[in-house]
Amino acid sequence: MVIDCKHVWHYISEYLDGALPDETRDTVQKHLDHCEICSAILDSMRNVIILTADDRVFELPVGFSERLHTRIDREFMRMAP
């Protein structure tokens, strides 16, 4: 089976997750082998996900932990008889 680019885009996320059924995955793979646009879309999507998931992107505010644990200690003291 041959599929066009738009169909490939539909499967791209599950392809990345390795969640496609074998047959669909092979079809997508065959398309990717010869379509540089879809390959570039796939690679850039993977790249974007990796960068976004990097610990440096979503940083905790400075002093977050200290303030959190102080708050919890206050809660402990409040419960203490």
Binding site: I12, V48, L51, T52, D54, F64, R67, E75, F76
Partner: protein, 210 residues
């Protein structure tokens, strides 16, 4: 602040110990989840101070109701549900004050096309050392419709499985897949062209005349 003593106990043992009265161990129990809870809260309330407040409240509430935690779900999933509840409560309160409608639902049938590129050269994670790049990414995630952002953060940033994500958000597995797909497409569409430029300028900086 006290330096937490790491006791090498498993999570289940820690929970049992806290419930058994060794409440100080709660500090250690929650340490691995500080960031996840904060990020999740931030994805709802969208400003750092409110997110921090919501995160603190989440951990306090989780402590108070720890005895209702059931071992059949994961502690992380349980914590995430509390976080989401806490964040939603806050939003509702704010919306009442501001009279703003809560999340507008995106049109699930509208098709999203990715950014078309002819070639993609891997962008190394060193670009994240630059604040402007981190901000580009943060802004793109922030602009996602709420229901896509939540799924994306749990799946791709917090690395929950599809079924854990479904359980946490109380939605179906197929919904998780569709929303994740759409979130990723939107991010690729927005970020791929921007990051390409960023990567180019970062190389140029090393040339002698710049």
């Amino acid at each position: 602040m006290k330096v937490p003593q790491i006791s090498n106990r498993t999570e289940a043992e820690l929970i049992a110990a806290v419930l058994g009265g060794e409440i100080q161990l709660y500090h250690e129990l929650i340490q691995p989840y500080e960031r996840s809870v904060y990020v999740m809260a931030l994805s709802y309330v969208k400003n750092e101070a409110d997110a921090e407040d919501a995160a603190q409240e989440t951990f306090v509430r989780a402590f108070r109701k720890l005895s209702s935690f059931r071992a059949e779900s994961k502690f992380s999933t349980w914590l995430m549900s509390i976080t989401i509840n806490e964040a939603r409560t806050r939003l509702r309160r704010q919306a009442l004050i501001r009279m703003e409608p809560l999340d507008q639902l995106p049109d699930e049938n509208m098709s999203i096309s990715p950014a078309l590129l002819r070639d993609w050269r891997e962008i190394p994670s060193e670009v994240l050392e630059r604040e402007e790049v981190r901000n580009l990414i943060l802004r793109a995630v922030e602009q996602l419709p709420d229901i896509y952002r939540q799924v994306f953060l749990l799946r791709d940033v917090e690395e929950l499985t599809v079924s854990e994500t479904a359980e946490t958000l109380n939605i179906s597995v197929p919904s998780v897949k569709v929303r994740l797909h759409r979130a990723r497409l939107m991010l690729q569409k927005q970020l791929a062209p921007q990051l390409k430029t960023v990567n180019r300028t970062s190389k140029r900086r090393w040339l002698p005349w710049s």
